[in-house]
């Protein structure tokens, strides 16, 4: 089960965990990226995520397939939310399951690192003072 997708609604972490579940797996790793209240010293109100959607979906799937091959992880899924996301809400959830913990953890890290480097998604931060700005890659270290 390899599944990647973009969504406009809240991400169901528990649902993704259930989706990758398989009785032969002993380890499931999960990464949840959430919108945080401060970034580079400014009070963030919300973040608007936009994307080049067909390419982003293709790229996410490519990353999942790479992780699957590299670490032998057959149960892996990633979901990225688009649109306006509030503080504390999840923008991205990645789940990887494997019989053993090493590959499950390695695959998880690979996917989040690659996703942040390659997937055409952008953040427009809205600040409490009414200002807004595009987050550039160098600042994107959540």
């Amino acid at each position: 089960m390899i599944r990647g997708r973009l969504t406009q609604s809240e991400i169901d972490t528990q649902g993704l965990i259930v989706e990758v579940a398989e009785s032969g797996n002993g380890a499931t790793s999960v990464f949840i990226g959430t919108v945080r209240s401060r970034n580079d010293g400014r009070d963030v109100q919300s973040i608007e995520y936009s994307s080049y959607e067909p390419m982003a979906e293709k790229e996410i799937l490519m990353i999942l397939r790479e992780a699957s091959e590299r670490y032998g992880v057959n149960n892996i899924a990633a979901e990225h939310r688009l649109g306006e996301i509030q503080i504390g809400e999840a923008s991205v959830v990645i789940v990887a399951a494997h019989p053993h913990r090493g590959p499950a953890l390695d695959a998880l890290r690979y996917v989040i690192e690659q996703l942040k480097k390659r997937v055409p998604i952008w953040k427009l931060e809205h600040y409490s003072d009414g200002d807004r700005s595009w987050v550039s890659a160098a600042e994107n270290h959540a």
Partner: protein, 80 residues
Amino acid sequence: MTVTVRFFASYAEVLGCQSFVLGLANGATVQDVVSHVAALPGAAGVPPAPLIAVNHSYANLSHLLADGDEVAIIPPVAGG
């Protein structure tokens, strides 16, 4: 031939444009599109060698274009 050029996020904002159709001579490359974009009003907000995708895959400046290609000028990505 013609290609569709697409802009996103900060680039779409500074150029005031999300998409346009560009006529090119046969044998044109991604570099020709980038040069055209560099002459647009607001192009100061786009770096001289931006990330490019052709038909949803990352491509080099020397990539040869074909009629109907979609050329996307990709701002620094910030997903996650």
